[in-house]
Amino acid sequence: EPEVTQTPSHQVTQMGQEVILRCVPISNHLYFYWYRQILGQKVEFLVSFYNNEISEKSEIFDDQFSVERPDGSNFTLKIRSTKLEDSAMYFCASIGRTQAGGYTFGSGTRLTVV
């Protein structure tokens, strides 16, 4: 069954450093998303991406965040200057033209900012 792949599975970074989280969505999917989940809290929407541009973003997705689809397969989330409160699980998801199967989520990247 097709999967959304995320790398790395765990990243530890120092406060103020830039991090790039990587995702390979399902190849024929059209819509891509990043979500985050702070430990013990709910899953929060960050940004959606369609047709090579951001289609929707939340208040969390401020100027420190950016997304890119550099090569037609990878979908990246960059955090320019990490803060302690950026520590969370970051999930990538994708969906095709129809939503019959729901969104397919990756297994996540655990980001720890120290």
């Binding site: 819509y31 998303y33 899953v43 929407f45 369609y50 699980m89 998801a93 397919t104 989520f105 297994s107």
Partner: protein, 111 residues
């Protein structure tokens, strides 16, 4: 906000019993979805119910949707220890728009 909000927050049952989780949301939706998350893992899609559907089944799962009350329920019948996980409802509006998740119900099934 069209957040889904689940209740109860936590549910503990014995194997073989049924588990019912409820979800309420605030605004009109295109569809409502239920996801499962094992501790520290990713989200797994369980079932999607469209706004014009009232009930849907998938294996041991039964989902109902009442758009007049803006609520949904997820029933897991004959629960197993392996069903232990957090369950989230999520709503969206138009195709391609973001899913908005509720806070989840943590289900614990003991053998």
């Amino acid at each position: 906000s069209q957040q889904g909000e689940e209740d109860p927050q936590a549910l503990s049952i014995q194997e073989g019993e049924n588990a019912t989780m409820n979800c309420s949301y605030k605004t009109s939706i295109n569809n409502l979805q239920w996801y499962r998350q094992n501790s520290g893992r990713g989200l797994v899609h369980l079932i999607l119910i469209r706004s014009n559907e009232r009930e849907k089944h998938s294996g041991r799962l039964r989902v109902t949707l009442d758009t007049s009350k803006k609520s949904s329920s997820l029933l897991i019948t004959a629960s197993r220890a392996a069903d232990t996980a957090s369950y989230f409802c999520a709503t969206d509006g138009l195709a391609g728009t973001a899913l908005i998740f509720g806070k989840g119900t943590t289900l614990s099934v003991s053998s």
